[in-house]
């Protein structure tokens, strides 16, 4: 019965269908793995360490011998001193009044106890 032409044709068709299904399954797995890798990379890039602040006094570009370049670089020197200066005084110094130390002197005694 297995040698019947019709049976042979059916068996041949089933193997072809199976191969197609196997190929589709492999493709799905490959796509899933790829998508997972991409998602992991994206997640890593958003939770990575914050960029380090650059040293404001360091040259942003290497000296080229251009006068304009040199003048621009030298003029940047003003920014640092201004930053350091403006930070000072932003916080008002504490005093014995601001911390209540002086006011506490009035509680040295309770005259009602005498």
């Amino acid at each position: 019965m297995g040698n019947h032409p019709l049976v042979k044709k059916i068996m041949k068709d089933q193997r072809g269908t199976a191969m197609v299904l196997e190929l589709l399954l492999v493709a799905v797995v490959v796509l899933a793995v790829g998508a997972a890798l991409i998602a992991r990379n994206n997640a890593a890039s958003t939770t990575g360490p914050a960029p380090q602040a650059k040293n404001s006094s360091k040259l942003s570009t290497a000296p080229t011998g251009s006068v304009d370049n040199a003048v621009d670089a030298i003029s940047q020197e003003t920014a640092g001193d201004q930053t350091a200066a403006s930070e000072e005084g932003a916080v008002v110094p504490q005093t014995d009044l601001s911390t209540g130390s002086a006011q506490n002197v009035e509680t040295s005694y309770n005259e009602n106890n005498f």
């Binding site: 000296p63 304009d68 030298i74 020197e77 001193d81 000072e88 009044l97 002197v105 040295s108 005498f114």
Partner: protein
């Protein structure tokens, strides 16, 4: 005495005698006896609080000095880096000079810039020193006002104690002495609170000083930048970089 006699005796007791016994004997009765101990307690309480205030002042001064030292260290570090960077630019410019005139022009530019840097830094340092000096004066002025208020407070207390002691020695009724003493202490406290309330905060004055210093720094920056650009323009012509 019969029951009726006792009732009549109570009814005829002077009302003024009852009024006297209504004053707590534990408070005024031994007032003169324990006045010395009370004075010691007052002095001890005052000393403790003044010591606390002095310690806080020292802490505040240390914090301020530390902050200033941090700013100074930052400025020194940055300036050293700028010196290095600037020298790299000078070296690159020197390499562009191919004739003696061009070399001289670069040398002039360097000396001009170094002079401008010196002036700029001196101006900024002066502005910072002026700010700090004025800030110190504000703090000291405020502390002096507080010190005066506390000193007056101590004098008033001392005077009250002397008066009370004299009254006790003169045989004045203890309740009277106590009433006068307590009243004087209340007045002293009230005067202290009033005096401290008149001491002006320094926050707005410090910010005003900071604004003045910032304006001086910005003016120095503008002068520096303009002068460097002018020197650069001269050098560009000499090096034919126009």
């Amino acid at each position: 005495m019969t029951g009726l006699g006792l009732m009549l005796a109570v009814a005829s007791f002077p009302a003024s005698a009852l009024a006297v016994t209504s004053v707590p004997m534990t408070t005024s009765g031994g007032f003169c006896t324990k006045l010395s101990a009370d004075e010691t307690a007052i002095t001890s309480g005052l000393d403790n609080r003044i010591n606390t205030m002095d310690k806080n002042r020292t802490t505040h001064a240390d914090n301020l000095a530390s902050q200033r030292a941090t700013f100074d260290a930052t400025v020194v570090k940055n300036r050293a880096q700028w010196d290095t960077d600037r020298q790299q630019n000078f070296t690159a410019l020197q390499k562009k000079a191919t004739t003696s005139d061009e070399t001289a022009a670069v040398g002039t530019f360097e000396q001009t810039v170094l002079g401008l840097v010196q002036t700029h830094r001196s101006t900024i340092d002066s502005a910072r020193d002026t700010f700090r000096s004025a800030e110190d004066q504000l703090i000291a002025g405020r502390q002096n006002q507080v010190n005066t208020a506390i000193s007056d407070f101590q004098s008033s207390i001392s005077s009250s104690e002397s008066t009370a002691q004299s009254s006790c020695n003169a045989g004045t009724t203890q309740s009277t002495v106590r009433t006068t003493f307590v009243g004087a202490l209340k007045s002293a406290r009230s005067a202290l609170v009033s005096a401290l309330g008149q001491v002006r905060p320094i926050a707005s004055a410090v910010k005003s000083l900071a604004a003045t210093r910032t304006a001086a720094v910005q003016a120095a920056n503008s002068d520096f930048t303009a002068a460097v650009k002018a020197a650069g323009a001269t050098l560009k012509t000499a090096l034919h970089q126009t």
